[in-house]
Symmetry: none
Subunit: 161 residues, 2 copies
DNA sequence: TTTCAACCCATTGACGCCCATAAAATCCCA
DNA sequence: TGGGATTTTATGGGCGTCAATGGGTTGAAA
């Protein structure tokens, strides 16, 4: 499996170390990236983490922009300047920098959430809230889709199963 | 890794020396440049630093411009004429010239910010402000892109999650 | 002399690397 | 198929090394 899936809640030890879940480590290993690439998520109080897949996504975004353009400077400051490459120790743990912890409001525990190409690190309480919100949205959306489906092709739902 | 990433805040000692972060030093070493190439950033109160990679970028920029054109003169004056090559001591420190410090408003501390091919040196307070600004700009730009995407296939956002 | 830069050494706190343990998951075989 | 044995995982802690910082000394230029 080369996707980050599921979520896990782990504790930080006295030295501030967190274990990356074994399932995520195998994905990282397959990705072939040495260490863990981390940057603050642009619009959430979470940290985006990954390997070459994530870094490539970001570099692709930057490569489109004109060198020396203000836009590019902005992007590279916001994306590269705030990101870090954390070392992963022999037990599969990383130490989050103070800045990253502050950004995500992290205390003594974190929730690591698979997102496919990347995974996120959250403060557990905040993640619960975020998840509830997401569920609500999905429910509304489902309702919408259901209504639409019922109107447009009346028997579509049955045909699927 | 051959990119300057992450950011660090270091102090100047009584002799005006600043440590280049170890992570940046390894990139510089790999780049094969002796010393540190520095020039005032064109449109920000910051210093652009790097090695051969940065020099190459600048020369690439200049090569596009008509030889002997006024524009080219301006650029080469601004980029090459104001640049310095600082010596790096055995502990990985450099001394910023008075002019450079004045340009960037540097006092007793600096923030060194990875930008991929180069890194920047900022007065910490100014950098914080600049980063906030950069984040806003990037978020807006992202929103624009998202909006565009959302307009064309109206339900795309839902399909994502 | 005075100044400043190049070089060398010292300190301290953080980090990398290694080994230990308990609990959970997995395996394996009767 | 059930339950003991083995492996893996998350977590804890010790210790040596390195990075960031401070300071002293020499030598050449002013």
């Amino acid at each position: 499996m080369d996707l980050y899936l599921s979520h896990f809640t782990n504790r930080l030890d006295a030295k501030g170390r967190v274990s990356i879940p074994a399932a995520f480590r195998t994905v990282l290993a397959r990705d072939g990236f040495e260490g863990l690439y981390v940057h603050p998520s642009l619009d959430m109080a979470a940290l985006d983490c990954g390997g070459n897949a994530l870094l490539g996504e970001i570099q692709g975004l930057l490569s489109v922009l004109e060198p020396y353009s203000v836009e590019r400077e902005m992007f590279s400051t916001a994306l590269l300047g705030t990101s870090e490459i954390l070392k992963v120790d022999s037990e599969g743990r990383v130490v989050l920098s103070e800045g990253l912890k502050v950004y995500a409001g992290i205390g003594s525990e974190v929730t690591l959430v698979g997102q496919g190409q990347k995974f996120q690190i959250w403060e557990p309480e905040r993640f619960r809230a975020h998840l509830d919100e997401a569920k609500l949205r999905v429910r509304d959306l489902r309702k919408d889709l259901g209504a639409r489906r019922a109107v447009i092709p009346p028997r579509a739902q049955g045909a699927r199963e």
